[in-house]
Amino acid sequence: MTEAEQSMRKTARKLLEEKKVAMIIGYEKGTLPLRTTPCFISDTKEVDRLVWNATCANNLAKYIIDSKGKVGIIAKGCDARSIVTCIVEKQIDRENVFIIGLPCAGIIDRKKIETELDEQEILEAKINDDHIILKGENFERQFAVKSIIDDSCLSCKYRNPPIYDVLVGEKVPDSMGDDKFISASRNESKSDEERWELFTKELNKCIRCYACKNVCPLCYCNECFVDQNMPTWLGKTDNPSDTMVYHIIRILHTAGRCVDCGTCSRACPMGINLRALTQKMVKLVKELYGFDAGLSIEDVPPLATFKQDDPQEFIQ
């Protein structure tokens, strides 16, 4: 067990014992190797289920909106920023959330490992501080955690939570060095035709399972537009045009709110590079309105406001 994990459990136990929170939202070991799953602990005896390592990939802010009373939540940089977004959007009260901030060393990307292993099944995984050991039927491989870090972590600029009630562990450098908008910028130099081809090809893989919206902390609408039927905004079909429209609208709904945590991309069972799309929206909001989501609870959502001199060269 790492030091950070140990002190995280200690903090959680103390909060529960002192009845400062009714529940802790954190991660526990998943049923498959290299997986963790969100867990909800309200009994001090259960605190040891909590884990903290490089496979804690979900954005836990997703679960804070439906929780009752005061809750404690484990938060990486991106989770903390999404919590800020939930506070700014008045989905939760700042007083009702106790943020246990954890400087993030980066989350590993299972897809990178699967490619390296040529899709061989992993039966056992052991994660140490800076490397992981994977065992399967006829192999044992060791990877430096650094070499399999998710792209969203490589370009993250806020690895330390910008807001917390207690910080567990030492702060880390804010960024790992990649350009913040690398995924979006890569496509920008291509022609209209090339980009259209790229996105249709990518989105044609989509099976409309909606995992991308179900894991995203921004998608808390009681009824999503995809489910509305008076009128039916979106055909419940596998028509490529409907799928495109789903993605375009979902991404527009993330404008000024998405923290580029990459959770939607990681959740996609078809391996679609959603970040090439979501990140573009983050970039546009930054370029046009100078806004980065989730940094301060005093923020005004950029799409709920305006400036007299907002760019309008596209309006005749």
Binding site: L198, F199, N239, S241, D242, I248, Q308, Q312, F314
Partner: protein, 151 residues
């Protein structure tokens, strides 16, 4: 939702092909501007189908995308000039939404000319006619919409 009826011939090479353009006009300015163009007998191409909305701020990006999905070759959204909105700032809030929609659609490869925005006041019948003519020319040059169209 019904598909906007297509002309018999869809080929862009066909000289007789005429684009269909859906125009969302705000009730207080641009719609009145179109009206003025009408009563002043100012000519403009008959390619546009007008949908009157209370304010440009009423235009959900979903409306625009669905229009393209169901057979429009181009879209025009027009509202009051900044400062003139009947609801004070509906158009200024909408301006951010439209900017993001337009740039995002361009990013995924939808031709920029399909999406058009303008500010037209109730006194600008001439401008209305000019904007519509320009939009029609632009969309004619692009040919029939294919991207995003639901087959």
């Amino acid at each position: 939702m019904e598909t906007i009826q297509k002309n018999d011939s869809e080929a862009s090479s066909n000289e007789s092909w005429q684009p269909k353009i859906v125009a969302f006009l705000c009730n207080w300015c641009s719609y009145a501007g179109a009206d003025l163009a009408g009563v002043s007998r100012i000519q403009y191409p008959p390619n546009i189908r007008i949908i009157r909305v209370p304010c440009s701020g009423r235009v959900n990006p979903l409306f625009i995308i669905k229009t393209l999905q169901y057979g429009a070759d181009g879209v025009l959204v027009s509202g009051c000039h900044p400062g003139d909105c009947h609801y004070i700032s509906g158009n200024l809030i909408a301006r951010r939404r439209f900017a993001l929609l337009k740039k995002f659609l361009e990013y995924i490869g939808v031709e920029p000319g399909r999406l058009n925005f303008s500010w037209i006041s109730a006194a600008e019948g001439e401008k209305f006619s000019k904007v519509v003519s320009e939009v029609v020319e632009k969309v004619k040059a692009l040919g029939p919409a294919t991207r995003l169209v639901k087959e």
